[in-house]
C-alpha cells in the first residue's frame, strides 16, 4: 500500500483526533506526515507470514488485584484541578452540549 497523503486525509484525521488545525498546520502536516509514512512503508516489505503481533512485552500474565473496595482519591481533591469545577455540586462544568 502506497501512502499518498492528501490534504483531505489530514483534515479527516484531525477531525478524528479532535484537533482544530490552522490552514498552515494542514499544509505542513500534509507534507511531513506524507514523508514519515513514506519512510514507514518499508515495514511492508518484511515477510511476516505466520508471525503473531506483539502488543505488549510482559513476561507473564498481567497482575490482577483482588476485587475489594479500597480507599481512593477524594472527589473534592479530584475535581479541584479542573479548569471549571462546580465544586459544591462535585461536577465538571462544560460548555453547552446540544446547540
Amino acid at each position: 500500500m502506497s501512502a499518498t497523503l492528501t490534504r483531505e486525509d489530514v483534515v479527516r484525521i484531525a477531525e478524528l483526533a479532535h484537533l482544530e488545525l490552522t490552514e498552515d498546520e494542514i499544509t505542513l502536516f500534509t507534507r511531513q506526515l506524507g514523508d514519515i509514512l513514506h519512510y514507514a512503508e518499508q515495514v511492508q516489505a518484511v515477510d511476516t507470514t505466520g508471525v503473531p503481533p506483539t502488543s505488549h512485552v510482559l513476561a507473564g500474565e498481567p497482575i490482577e488485584r483482588t476485587d475489594a473496595r479500597v480507599p481512593c482519591l477524594d472527589r473534592d481533591e479530584a475535581i479541584v484541578a479542573a479548569p471549571d469545577a462546580a465544586q459544591e455540586a462535585g461536577l465538571f462544568r462544560v460548555p453547552q452540549v446540544i446547540g
Binding site: A14, H18, L19, T54, V57, L58
Partner: protein, 491 residues
C-alpha cells in the same frame, strides 16, 4: 559549602554520614546551584525551594537509625511524573497550572528512602522528542556546549546531573529518552526492563514502551537508585513481581568471561567517525580485560525506527485523548459548544510535534490503514524481539553506540521531523523488546562533546548490565570529566 560535592550519591552520603553537613545544607547547595545555572541551562521547569528545604529539615531531625538509603540526597524529577502539590506539566501548555493530587510511585519510593525532590526537569512535551526542543518552556541546553541539545526527551534531567546540580535524576524512556540524553551529556542512563519499575503516576506516552529509570554520574549510583525504584506496585498491573536483587552487589564483578555481542552490520552505517572510534576503543578495552566479543546479527533492527514510530504514535493518540480541557489543565476561553471546546483546547494546548504524533497514530489506527501499518508494525516488532532472543542464546549483553552522533546544534533538525527520529536508531529496539539497557560514557569528540555506548541485556538482568558497565567504568576516567559551564553565546 563551596567544597560540597553534589556530583555523586556516594559523595553526598559520605558528607552526610560524617555528621558535619546537615541535609538542609546539602539541599541549599543544590538549590543555589540551580539558581546560579538555570538561566543559562534551562534544566528546570519548577524549583521546589520551600518544599525541599522543609523536607531536608525534617530529615535532619531523624535519628541515624531512621535514615533511609538516600537520606538527604537531592534528586530532580522529570516533569512528566506526578508530584503531589507540585506543578506537573510534561512541558505542555495543555497541563498549565495542573497540581497533581497524588505522587507517582517512584516519587513516593524515593522520598521514603530519604531523597529530597528539588525540582521538576524540562523535557520534550509529553516526552516526545530527541532534543528537548519540543518543550513549551524552550529547550534545556547542553552544559558541554550550550548552543547544542542535551538530547531528549529527558534533557533537563541529564543536564541537572551533568552540571553537578543533583547527583541523580529520574527520566522516562519510551524510545531512548533516558539513554540518549545521558550519552549526549556524558553521564550514565539506565532504562530498566519493562515492568521493573512502576509507571503509576507517569503521564503515559506509549504504554507498552514507557519505563522510568535513573540518570546518574556513575554506574554505582544507577544501581543504588534502581534498588529503591524497582519492585511490584498494586497500582500498576504491569509492574512485575520478579524478585529485586541487590544491584549494588553486581558492581564488584569483573569482565572476564563476559560475552559481549556486537551487531557489526547494524552499527556499520550512518555512525559519526568519532562515535565509531570511541565505541571501538570501548570494545577493545573490554576485550583486553577478558571479555569475549562475539559478532551477532540483528537482521530486523533496521526496521526498529519505522516500527517504533508506528506503534508509539498509535498508543500516544489513544493516551492523549484524555487532554480535552474538562478535568485538568488548560481550557480554551469562550468556546460556545462542548465539541468546539475540545477541538480548540487541543489545538491551542498541544505543540507541533505532539499534534504530528497524534495525527500519525490516529491515521495508522484508522479503518483501511490498520492492517498495513499498525498490525504490520506489531508483527515486525515480534521479529525484532526474536532477533534479541537468538542473540542472547550466545551472548550476555549486546553493545552498540547510544547515539549515532554527539550532541547536535539546537535548531539543526527541528524543520525535519524524520531526521530527528533517526537519532533514536540504536535505542528504540530495547523498548520494542522490553529489555534493559544502559548508556555509559566512553569518550569525547575533538570538540569536547561527550560520547556514550550502550549495553542491552536480558529481561530482568540489570545486574549483568551493571556489572559489565561498572567494570568498564572502573578502567576509565570518563566519569571524572566535568562540563565547564559557559554562558550561552548570544546569537
Amino acid at each position: 559549602m563551596a567544597s560540597l560535592d553534589l556530583t555523586t550519591i556516594d559523595g553526598v552520603r559520605g558528607a552526610l554520614a560524617s555528621g558535619e553537613v546537615p541535609a538542609r545544607e546539602v539541599c541549599r547547595a543544590s538549590l543555589e546551584s540551580i539558581e546560579a545555572q538555570n538561566s543559562s541551562l534551562n534544566a528546570f521547569n519548577l524549583v521546589a525551594t520551600e518544599q525541599a528545604l522543609g523536607r531536608a529539615e525534617a530529615l535532619d531531625r531523624l535519628a541515624p537509625s531512621e535514615r533511609g538509603p538516600l537520606h538527604g540526597v537531592p534528586i530532580a524529577i522529570k516533569d512528566n511524573m506526578c508530584t503531589r502539590g507540585l506543578a506537573t506539566t510534561a512541558s505542555s501548555r495543555i497541563l498549565e497550572g495542573y497540581l497533581p493530587p497524588y505522587d507517582a510511585t517512584v516519587v513516593e519510593r524515593l522520598e521514603r528512602a530519604g531523597a529530597v525532590v528539588v525540582g521538576k526537569t524540562n523535557c520534550d512535551e509529553f516526552a516526545m522528542g530527541s532534543s528537548n526542543e519540543n518543550s513549551a518552556f524552550g529547550p534545556a541546553r547542553n552544559p558541554w556546549d550550550p548552543t547544542r541539545t542535551p538530547g531528549g526527551s529527558s534533557g533537563g534531567s541529564a543536564v541537572a546531573v551533568a552540571a553537578g546540580i543533583v547527583p541523580a535524576a529520574l527520566g522516562s524512556d519510551t524510545g531512548g529518552s533516558i539513554r540518549q540524553p545521558a550519552s549526549l551529556c556524558g553521564i550514565v542512563g539506565l532504562k530498566p526492563t519493562y515492568g521493573r519499575v512502576s509507571r503509576y503516576g507517569l503521564l503515559a506516552f506509549a504504554s507498552s514502551l514507557d519505563q522510568i529509570g535513573p540518570l546518574t554520574r556513575t554506574v554505582g549510583d544507577a544501581a543504588t537508585l534502581l534498588s529503591v525504584l524497582a519492585g511490584p506496585d498494586p497500582r500498576d498491573a504491569t509492574a512485575a513481581r520478579t524478585a529485586v536483587p541487590d544491584y549494588r552487589a553486581a558492581l564488584s564483578g569483573e569482565l572476564a568471561g563476559a560475552r559481549i555481542g556486537v551487531p557489526r552490520a547494524f552499527v556499520g552505517e550512518g555512525v559519526d567517525t568519532e562515535v565509531r572510534a570511541a565505541f571501538d576503543a570501548a570494545l577493545d578495552l573490554m576485550a583486553s580485560s577478558g571479555a569475549m566479543l562475539v559478532d551477532i546479527d540483528l537482521p530486523h533492527a533496521r526496521y526498529a525506527i519505522p516500527v517504533y514510530y508506528l506503534v508509539a504514535t498509535a498508543e500516544a493518540s489513544s493516551n492523549l485523548a484524555r487532554y480535552d480541557g474538562v478535568r485538568y489543565g488548560y481550557r480554551t476561553p469562550d468556546a460556545r459548544t462542548l465539541e468546539n471546546m475540545y477541538f480548540r483546547t487541543r489545538d491551542e494546548g498541544f505543540g507541533a510535534e505532539v499534534k504530528r504524533r497524534i495525527m500519525l497514530g490516529t491515521y495508522v489506527l484508522s479503518a483501511g490503514y490498520y492492517d498495513a501499518f499498525y498490525l504490520k508494525a506489531q508483527q515486525v516488532r515480534t521479529l525484532i524481539r526474536r532477533d534479541y532472543e537468538q542473540a542472547f542464546a550466545r551472548v550476555d549483553v549486546v553493545a552498540m553506540p547510544t547515539s549515532p552522533t554527539p550532541a547536535f546544534r539546537l535548531g539543526e533538525k527541528t524543520d525535519d521531523p524524520l531526521q530527528m527520529y533517526l537519532a533514536d536508531v540504536f535505542t528504540v529496539s530495547a523498548n520494542l523488546s522490553g529489555l534493559p539497557a544502559i548508556s555509559v560514557p566512553c569518550g569525547f569528540s575533538g570538540g569536547r562533546l561527550p560520547i556514550g555506548f550502550q549495553l542491552t541485556g536480558r529481561a530482568f538482568d540489570e545486574s549483568t548490565l551493571l556489572r559489565i558497565a561498572g567494570a568498564y567504568e572502573r578502567r576509565t576516567e570518563w566519569t571524572k570529566e566535568r562540563a565547564l559551564v559557559r554562558p550561552p553565546s548570544l546569537a
